[in-house]
Amino acid sequence: MANKNLAFKNTPAAPQALRIEKAAGKVSGELDKVIHERMRLGIISALAANEKVSFTDLKKLLDTSDGNISVHARKLEEAGYITLTKSFAGRMPLTEYAITKDGRKALGRYLDHMEALIKAMKGVG
């Protein structure tokens, strides 16, 4: 710990680095782990831009396997960020996902956090 503090004081970039560390620390404390994961962030982003997105379209968009999508979608569903409806298109089962109000809020918060981080970084330059 002592070494770390010394390093901060001796390097010219120290105060700015500290500022970002602070912002990052604040953010990671509040960071929404449910949507921070890449696949889930992709799912929630796609749903935010569309009324509904089908399972097949999500799979194509994120270029991944059936299992991967369903596992991550279930996590988001459990958090109350998305809802799923199952129906039939002819004989084919059709699963569609939609974002909930909470999900939209969570994405908004996440973007705020990212914005804070980017601002903190720009403050350095």
Binding site: S45, N50, D63, I118
Partner: protein, 207 residues
């Protein structure tokens, strides 16, 4: 060992914050990309559009040399098929690069918006041909192609519908001018507009 570790720590402290900020930018970019790719048709061809424009200029020149209106029509119909084939091939190629299927939801929306005005264009052309109203064909083509680009382009990059509207305006101007200018305006719209907007799309939207 004890000497080495502070130096490494030092480096770590300097690099780490920047990485967090960079990662934040990367995350935001990823969100944006997913939103765009899921909602917008990204395979509108830029270079393909430029090639379509080049063939249209050649077609405009060849068509202007024709004595009979029927031959004039054949030249432009050939060009239409050629351009359609180039467009399809270019979209297929670009969709592979962009990683978006030509059967994805946004691609389907684009097609459903793009095709109806084109079908009307074919039907109206047949009608005009039957009654031998060759002189109104050029304005009608420009307007209906423009409509197709506007309606299909609603699900694509913002510059696409802008090009469609310019086509519609060109069609209106062609109606106002003497029929002889129709062929020049066809060359200017299908030729130059495709080249200019194709270049913009190629530069800004990758290909």
């Amino acid at each position: 060992m004890p000497k080495l570790s502070p130096i490494r720590n030092d480096e770590f402290e300097e690099n780490e914050p920047v990485n967090i900020g960079d990662r934040a930018i990367d995350n935001v970019r990823y969100i944006r990309e997913m939103m765009e790719r899921s909602a917008h048709f990204t395979a509108v061809p830029g270079y393909g559009g430029m090639l379509m424009g080049a063939t249209a200029i050649v077609a405009a020149y060849v068509a202007s040399q024709q004595v009979y209106l029927r031959d004039w029509l054949i030249v432009w119909l050939t060009e239409a098929f050629l351009a359609f084939a180039i467009g399809l091939l270019a979209m297929w190629q670009k969709s592979k690069i962009a990683g978006q299927s030509l059967f994805s939801a946004p691609a389907r929306k684009f097609a459903f918006g793009f095709v109806p005005p084109l079908v009307c264009g074919i039907a109206i052309t047949l009608g005009l041909w039957r009654y031998e109203h060759y002189e109104v064909m050029a304005p009608v083509w420009m307007m209906l192609y423009g409509s197709a680009v506007v309606t299909g382009g609603a699900f694509s990059a913002k510059v696409v519908p802008v090009m469609g509207w310019i086509f519609i305006v060109a069609g209106c101007i062609a109606f106002a001018l003497p029929a002889v200018y129709g062929n020049y305006l066809m060359g200017a719209s299908f030729g130059l507009l495709h080249i200019v907007f194709g270049a913009m799309i190629a530069r800004r939207y990758g290909g």
